[in-house]
């Protein structure tokens, strides 16, 4: 399995741990990923919100680079990049005027031939839980985990969804394969305020609190995410979100690649767990408890 990897700006900075753990997990599973040469920012929501042509062209430029490098599948980990690349690609494929516009701006003949894929999709649908299961060495037994998909991986359904848009399950299945216990909760696809993270912190904090308290109500020990914005809003802003309401304990918010990495036996530092604001110590303890037993079996 070979993919061109589009890390995107956040994986280079605020989400370097996501970058690190994605690369580590792919390596451990034998998924070959190579960075899109000279990739540029996808424009993210600012381009989308202020200049439709730009939000079409920047993804097209990147996808064309991947195509030129000989790839037909581009892998992203950041859900926002995924959504932007996919939305632009969808428009380019479906709508000839959009296609022509994109080609005029980037001055390249890109016509939508490349597939944009998210790491969850790859792990769940291409690689498959059965294969992953074979490689699990230290299952996180009994760890109660809420999967949080957010909105970017679910909507619009026709463009981005690779799972049930209202009740997605793929991350829960991966959690299960990691030996942990996926917990059903109602906010799987609720919005965390993603793009408002910097400009409207009060809104993001309110939404963060809602999500965290619901996760707590569901009795989870950890939230797993697949989007750098979600992680930022729930982990980095967790203290702020709970400021006025001290009724919920700290809940670590980890990337699915970090959780899976642990179960695959990858050392925590190779997964960037030290970047978390809310310590993942509780998860590590859980792993330690089962490590010996699992190690014997392996």
């Amino acid at each position: 399995m070979k993919y061109a990897f589009f890390p995107g700006c956040s994986l280079e900075s605020t989400a370097w741990d996501y970058d690190k753990s994605t690369r580590a997990v792919c390596k451990a599973l034998g998924i070959e990923i190579t960075d899109v040469p000279d990739w540029v920012c996808c424009g993210s929501s600012p381009a989308h919100a202020s200049n439709a042509s730009l939000s079409l062209a920047l993804p097209a430029l990147n996808l064309h680079k991947a195509q030129t490098a000989g790839y037909s599948e581009v892998l992203t980990a950041c859900a926002s990049c995924y959504a932007r690349l996919r939305t632009a690609n969808h428009a380019i494929r479906k709508d000839p005027t959009e296609r022509e516009r994109a080609q005029r701006i980037i001055e390249k003949p890109y016509a939508g031939a490349v597939n944009v894929r998210h790491i969850l999709d790859i792990l769940f649908n291409d690689y498959g839980v059965a294969e992953i299961e074979k490689r699990i060495t230290t299952p996180l037994k009994g760890l109660r985990v809420a999967s949080y998909y957010g909105c970017l991986l679910s909507r619009p359904k026709e463009v981005v969804a690779f799972d049930d848009a209202e009740h997605p399950v793929c991350m829960d299945k991966l959690v299960k394969v990691a030996g942990a216990e996926p917990v059903d909760w109602p906010f799987k696809t609720e919005c965390c305020g993603a793009s408002l993270s910097i400009s409207k912190t009060s809104v993001v904090n309110r939404l963060g609190y809602k999500l965290l308290s619901m996760a707590h109500r569901a009795g989870v020990e950890c939230i797993v995410v697949a989007c750098s914005l979600c992680q930022l809003n729930l982990d980095f802003r967790q203290a702020d979100a709970k400021k006025d309401q001290a009724d919920i304990p700290e809940i670590p918010v980890v990337y699915i690649t970090q959780l899976l990495g642990l179960a695959l036996g990858i050392p925590p530092k190779d997964l960037g767990l030290d970047a978390l604001m809310v310590s993942a110590a509780s998860i590590l303890d859980r792993r330690a408890a089962t490590a010996g037993q699992a190690g014997r079996r392996a």
Partner: protein, 186 residues
């Protein structure tokens, strides 16, 4: 918003429909969008009310509203509207129309952030977070929010003092220029 509204004509409705590609006129005021919007508690007008105001041609009220800037583009509304109206796209369109109009915005923070973000991309090819944040704060005059976070982010290596550069910066600048040209053509 005035206390008494006046139904002028369908001009605003038709403009928004043309630019967003969404059939706003089909809206039958079921309020499903408003009831599912995660940001609704922080909005001065709810999405279904915005649809109604568009019907009524209340251009100023809509474009001055804070709500269009509060929208997080989560598309919960679009995904579930029984009339298949892309409400999120309408919000995008309204934001663009509000910026074009060059009058005071209902909320400048989001648009400032967008400006800062894109200028970072324009010059580096990728986002340089620290620089972008500084720029954002200058434009938005929202100087103090989040300043406490910067040291922590630096400590966790989430922010760096040096920008990342793509090797395609020149190409990117050209793309920006051409995209702006394209937008004007619309």
């Amino acid at each position: 918003m005035n206390d008494t509204l006046e139904w002028t004509d369908n001009a605003l409705l038709r403009e928004v429909e043309r630019r967003s590609g969404a059939s706003v006129s089909a809206c039958f005021q079921c309020h499903k969008c408003s009831s599912g919007c995660p940001i609704a508690p922080d909005m001065d007008l709810l999405s279904s009310q915005i649809m109604r105001l568009i019907h009524l041609g209340e251009k100023e009220t809509v474009l001055e509203s804070e709500a269009i800037w509060a929208c997080a583009s989560c598309e919960a509304c679009t995904a579930r509207c029984p009339m298949g109206i892309d409400i999120a796209a309408v919000m995008d369109t309204l934001r663009m129309m509000a910026v074009e109009r060059k009058a005071a915005l209902g909320d400048r923070r989001t648009s400032s952030f967008n400006k800062a973000f894109l200028s970072s991309v324009r010059w580096h090819g990728r986002v340089f977070e620290l620089g972008m944040m500084t720029l954002y704060k200058l434009i938005s005059r929202d100087l103090f929010s989040d300043v406490d976070k910067v040291p922590r982010m630096l400590a966790k290596h989430k922010l760096t003092f040096l920008p990342h550069f793509s090797r395609s910066t020149k190409e990117v600048r050209l793309v920006f220029n051409r995209a702006e040209e394209e937008e004007k053509k619309r």
